[in-house]
């Protein structure tokens, strides 16, 4: 019965998407036509959007109001590789790694819905490994900044002290999300491999994917606002 209702609505929705909003909210049924776990993940991600926004807005606020020079991120995060001085190179590599992991995750979701368990598990493990390498590079970056440059959350020899506070807060919180994502991915990959979702369906892989893509999405904003601006 519920499935038939959905089908009818899908037909009617082609005329107007606003009509579909009216149908979804006005009819005597659940408003959001998706597994509850997926809806809860979307709502969690929406709340997480607000948390990261608040961090980025507070960063904007201090950067606009400081009276001492803000360090040039391009120079702070430059590395000398094989005698060449390349600006922001590690951050660029981290960006590409995270995008690649998003790609492998998207394909894992696709194979999960095709019922190809083996490929799903391999791709999820690949995603988790790429995420772990991202954390490794971030640890390297933090070590370099703390030990070699002497930057602290309350102190910064290169200029505005707020640089350290904003940097450790924003990238630290994002790094925590990546770490949690790696654990989450490994756990779900293990359970998929054990066949725990054979009867339930593989929506869980898409839900895990939503979280992982969100982590990548946040990095897009951090990369633009903190490292490039």
């Amino acid at each position: 019965m519920p499935n038939n209702q959905h089908q009818e609505h899908t037909e009617a929705d082609k005329s107007s998407s606003w009509q579909s909003v009216k149908n979804d909210w006005g009819a005597d049924k659940q408003a959001f036509d998706m597994p509850w776990g997926k809806l809860m993940m979307w709502i969690f991600l929406l709340s997480d959007t607000f948390i990261f926004s608040i961090f980025l807005i507070s960063y904007m606020n201090v950067r606009m109001s400081v009276t001492v020079p803000w360090p040039n991120p391009s120079e702070v995060f430059a590395l000398t590789i094989a005698g060449h001085h390349i600006p922001l190179v590690l951050i660029a590599i981290m960006t590409f790694i995270l995008i690649t992991s998003s790609g492998t995750m998207a394909m894992a979701v696709n194979y999960a819905y095709q019922g190809n368990k083996k490929k799903t598990v391999y791709l999820m493990v690949t995603t988790a490994l790429l995420g772990a390498s991202f954390i490794g590079m971030q640890a390297f970056e933090w070590t370099k900044l703390i030990v070699e440059e002497g930057i602290r959350p309350w102190d910064n020899p290169m200029g505005a002290n707020q640089f350290g506070a904003a940097f450790f807060m924003i990238t630290g919180f994002h790094g925590l999300h990546v770490s949690a994502g790696v654990i989450y991915l490994a756990l779900i990959a293990k359970r998929v491999n054990q066949g725990k979702y054979d009867n339930k369906g593989y929506q869980i892989v898409e839900i895990t994917g939503l979280y992982w893509h969100f982590v990548d999405l946040v990095w897009v904003f951090i990369f633009a606002f903190f490292y490039l601006w």
Binding site: N3, V21, T67, Y113, G201, E206, L228
Partner: protein, 116 residues
């Protein structure tokens, strides 16, 4: 009955997403190119308005691709899109408020620290 329906979605349920792998590869390639472009903005040291415009343009393009195709929002219903895109308007308002506040703090600091 409702609970059963949620716990055991049928194999043909339309909530599942089926797209050709080539679509994901194309989006992935686009994301790579856009990331390379935004890195080039820094590498070639563009400054001022041009820099900020390019950074924002590449950022929004990347974010849009990830949300729409990787997170499959392009195929979700309008009600879901509204759920996700209406609340962040509050964030935009907060940005406007905090940037004007930051200007005020900056001017106050300049007046009281450097102009006794």
């Amino acid at each position: 009955m409702m609970k059963q329906h949620i716990a055991t979605p049928s194999a043909t349920s339309h909530v599942q997403q089926q797209h050709p792998i080539s679509m994901y590869l194309k989006v992935w390639l686009l994301l790579f190119v856009l990331s390379a472009c935004s890195y080039m903005v820094d590498y070639f040291e563009f400054q001022g308005m041009l820099r900020w415009t390019l950074i924002l343009a590449f950022m929004f393009l990347k974010a849009g691709l990830i949300i729409m195709f990787f997170m499959h929002l392009a195929w979700e219903r309008m009600a879901v899109k509204l759920l996700l895109f209406l609340p962040p308007i509050a964030i935009l308002i907060f940005i406007v408020l905090m940037s004007s506040e930051a200007d005020y703090v900056f001017i106050s600091r300049m007046l009281s620290f450097f102009n006794p």
